[in-house]
Symmetry: C2
Subunit: 222 residues, 2 copies
DNA sequence: TTTTAGAATGACCGGGTGGTCACCGCGCGG
DNA sequence: CCGCGCGGTGACCACCCGGTCATTCTAAAA
């Protein structure tokens, strides 16, 4: 979970890196596995090997600690989106979608705990704040896809008579569901995406991109 | 929440209908608004106007009570699916999808609390049991759509070269997202589906069905 | 070696939870 | 009109929570 340590009290910032990592990683693990409400400061503190008093000296409240952890997760996701966008600028639209999904899978592999926190927030609304921040994040994701869609339209790669917001919403929902099913057992309704093989993932990417581009209808081609 | 009272202890079953309804309705409301883990027997009991001892005489544990409530929700959803299937058997595939969505919206209007319980279970995994039951329900929904897809294929209404399971999964994910966004504020990323007008809903249905049938590509028509 | 600043600690607090059980009061049979 | 059985009751239990703070420990300064 390297770097990113403007969070916490002055005392926490002054700690040796190793200890900061140990504490922060334990927090990430706790929130990832139980969500905000059911995460326990007691069990967190046990896992981190520090005393209960200390964690409240490092982050004054549970809420503060969660904010710091969430900020890291959101930053990582934003970076990943930025990178994919710039890496795929030249690709045709379908390849772009495929790369986006592939990168999503690899992000989850690299940051499973942060992914869990991010998706938990997005989906379950289990957060210490209201809906505003969640809506903001969802709009961000949708806008990202809407811009991809705009570019595809301007290049003549897709139909131009579609509502960009609604379209982005629908495509986003497919992406999100697929990525969540990749690491959430109970979402994988028996199709082997969860903990599946790389070929399996590729097959899903292909099917999904084809679905987005052509739908189910008879009369399309490519 | 009428009928359906094989649940609970003998004592509960022997209660006057009115009281059974009062208690059961309070349980539904509690679980719907807080999910399983964060639902409180204390607050439930306060809302139902009975004493704490009583609820544990009617349903021995929180878990038992939840099972009963969930069973009602699942039964209602199954009935709704059955009804839609038989009502739309003659329709062309796109109209069928549209009717399915429309009925989904109206189910949510009629049973907002049961919908909340059902979706909460499906999405957040917040349940007193393992993943098996959730997977089972998801498979049910997917199979429902897969059969619709089969019929459409056999009538030549859609392409026949698609994997039925994967396709059903993708279509299901769109349906589910749309229905959830209809009553969950933080899922409606600013598009006015949540608490929107009837025209708004119709526009979404049209867009979604068109997306499923034709995708985004240039070269399709209908 | 002694003093002392400040970090680490865990017992403790008020308030919550799911669940229990000794008691109370009401209605029915005798 | 009495007595008894059974449903209703809420104080109580053990255990958890987030958060506090008086005390202890440690290590550097004097």
């Amino acid at each position: 979970m390297r770097d990113h340590f403007e969070s916490g009290t002055e005392l926490f910032k002054s700690l040796p890196l190793e200890k900061r990592e140990k504490v922060f990683d334990a927090a990430v693990a706790e929130f990832a596995s139980k969500g905000y409400r059911n995460a326990s400061m007691n069990s967190l503190v046990r896992a981190a090997g520090i005393s209960k008093g200390s964690i409240f000296q490092y982050f004054r409240t549970k809420r503060n600690l969660f904010d710091a952890v969430l900020e890291l997760a959101v930053d990582r996701v934003k970076n990943y989106l930025r990178k994919v966008r710039s890496d795929t600028g030249e690709m045709p639209f379908p390849a772009r979608l495929g790369t986006l999904l592939r990168s999503g899978f690899s992000f989850i592999d690299k940051h499973p705990l942060l992914s869990a926190i991010y998706f938990q927030l997005l989906q379950s609304g289990d957060a210490p704040f209201g809906t505003e921040k969640i809506l903001q994040l969802r709009r961000l994701g949708n806008e990202f896809l809407a811009e991809m869609f705009d570019e595809a339209v301007s290049r003549g790669e897709v139909r131009s008579d579609l509502d960009r917001q609604k379209t982005a919403f629908l495509v986003n929902s497919l992406m999100e569901t697929l990525l969540r099913a990749y690491y959430t057992e109970f979402l994988d309704s028996g199709l082997g995406l969860y903990k599946g093989t790389a070929q399996n993932r590729e097959a899903w990417i292909e099917t999904t991109v084809a679905f987005i581009v052509s739908g189910l209808g008879n009369e399309s081609s490519d």
